[in-house]
């Protein structure tokens, strides 16, 4: 079983989500909140830079040229 921790949200929001998820695939407010957070994290994490240097990029371009891709 997945380990879980408690976070707090306003009661009104809890009630709103609780009503919203009735009859959906979400078994609980926690599941709904976890999904929304993961969606948000995915958006934020997709905004990172490439992570490789100009020198590395130039070296790669040489190989791609040699292989006929560029």
């Amino acid at each position: 079983m997945e380990k879980r921790k408690t976070i707090e949200i306003p009661e009104t929001l809890y009630d709103r989500v609780s009503a919203r998820i009735k009859g959906t695939e979400f078994a609980s407010v926690s599941d709904y909140v976890a999904r929304v957070i993961r969606e948000r994290l995915a958006v934020e994490e997709n905004e990172k830079p490439s992570g490789y240097t100009k020198e590395e990029e130039e070296k790669v371009k040489q190989r791609l040229k040699a292989l006929g891709y560029l």
């Binding site: 079983m1 997945e2 695939e25 999904r35 993961r38 969606e39 994290l41 995915a42 994490e45 997709n46 905004e47 990172k48 830079p49 490439s50 992570g51 490789y52 590395e56 990029e57 790669v60 371009k61 190989r63 791609l64 292989l67 006929g68 891709y69 560029l70």
Partner: protein
């Protein structure tokens, strides 16, 4: 460009100046022999195709992947990438050791920093990953044939291997630079283990209509009996690309890994790997990575609902067929005609025709592709 899974492209390749020294070290270290499949996956880990993995899973990661389909840092990850070892193999090694990994030719491939050695239950692994413990399932059979312990730890690749597919072997950093050079911002990845029929072409071109580039990424590695051989798949694709595709919109490179036939879980894994190669979208077809009747036809599409944070957009496609009435390739979502008008893209029928030396119908396979298949004396894996 979309960042790799976990944010950083893993690089576990030893720098050139360390390689000779590592080769020398390898001859003095305890040695672990691995299969060709595992040797390929070590390379995949090393050049970042399996980012964020830096080695083989340790126990807590293994259990998290098995039961939660996520790594312990919550990142989606559905297939346990593990290194199995026998009690005999483990006589000379313990946690904290560095060992040399040797390929089937007894050549040193990598160094492994052993972090953990742990037991596992094969039936549990099979049930969780393949949804069955039936030994007739090829993935289950392979699981049952694994050795009794798992060894977790980071690897360092000593040097890349060479094979006949060298010109098709691009690493994630290479595809990423290539896509950038081509000016592509959105790229759809297409996974295949088959020769291209017109249904595949239709899916690829439909997907390409909405993005900048198409990345065709055939899986090269051990397949099951009756599948097309790797060289036949690549030659067939070359013929198709030459005659029917815009070359500045399409790139083909291979992924050297085995098919696991893990259906839905493998579809997620395939998407993650293509994300690492720089794809923003990924085609998921009917019964993706399936075998026999072990998975519901669209289970591999439905599983994507569990992963809103995957970071790559799945493009689910229905099965395509040729409709005589429409006189085109269609699917059940767009064709109103009954099944008597359909010609299905049946792999079994195609195989039967090829075995008899007959060309497949042009509605199903392009003539240039058919020519490649008929020219091949022995196109199937035995």
């Amino acid at each position: 460009m979309l960042p790799p899974h976990g944010g950083t492209l893993v690089d576990r390749i030893l720098p050139a100046e360390r390689q000779e020294q590592a080769l020398e070290e390898a001859s003095k270290l305890p040695q672990l022999h691995v299969s060709d499949d595992l040797a390929k996956d070590i390379e995949n880990i090393a050049f970042g195709a399996f980012s964020p993995l830096e080695g083989f899973l340790c126990q807590s990661e293994y259990e998290s992947v098995l039961h939660e389909k996520r790594l312990t840092n919550d990142l989606p990850w559905t297939l346990p990438i593990v290194l199995d070892a026998s009690k005999e193999d483990l006589k000379n090694m313990k946690a904290g050791d560095t060992v040399a990994i040797l390929d089937p030719l007894k050549e040193p491939v990598a160094l492994l920093d052993v972090e953990e050695i742990f037991p596992y239950k094969k039936e549990e692994l099979a049930q969780e990953v393949f949804g069955t413990t039936d030994p007739a399932h090829p993935g289950v059979a392979k699981t049952y044939a694994m050795k009794d312990c798992l060894v977790g730890g980071k690897i360092s690749l000593i040097r890349m291997s060479f094979d006949e597919f060298q010109k098709y072997r691009l690493s994630p950093i290479e595809t990423r630079v290539l896509f950038k050079e081509k000016g592509w911002r959105t790229i759809v990845g297409f996974q295949t283990r088959n020769i291209p029929h017109i249904g595949h072409e239709y899916v690829q071109k439909t997907a390409l209509t909405f993005v900048d580039g198409l990345f065709i990424n055939p899986v090269i590695g051990k397949k099951k009996s009756g599948d097309f051989k790797d060289e036949v798949i690549l030659a067939a694709y070359e013929a198709l690309l030459r005659h029917y595709y815009l070359r500045d919109r399409t790139v083909m490179a291979v992924l050297r890994t085995e098919m696991r036939y893990a259906g839905p879980r493998e579809a997620i894994f395939h998407a993650i790997v293509r994300k690492n190669f720089g794809c923003t979208h990924f085609v998921v077809g009917r019964d993706h990575a399936g075998v026999g009747k072990y998975y519901p036809p669209y289970a591999a599409q439905e599983i994507f609902d569990e992963f809103p944070d995957l970071g790559i957009v799945p493009l689910p496609f229905k099965s395509f067929f040729y409709c005589r009435k429409c006189e085109s390739v269609v699917n059940e979502k767009i064709c109103p005609h009954d099944s008597t008008q359909r010609i299905d893209f049946s792999g079994t029928d195609l195989r039967a025709k090829l075995i008899k030396g007959e060309p497949p119908p042009k509605e199903l396979v392009r003539p240039e592709v058919a020519e490649v298949l008929l020219r091949s004396k022995d196109p199937f894996v035995e």
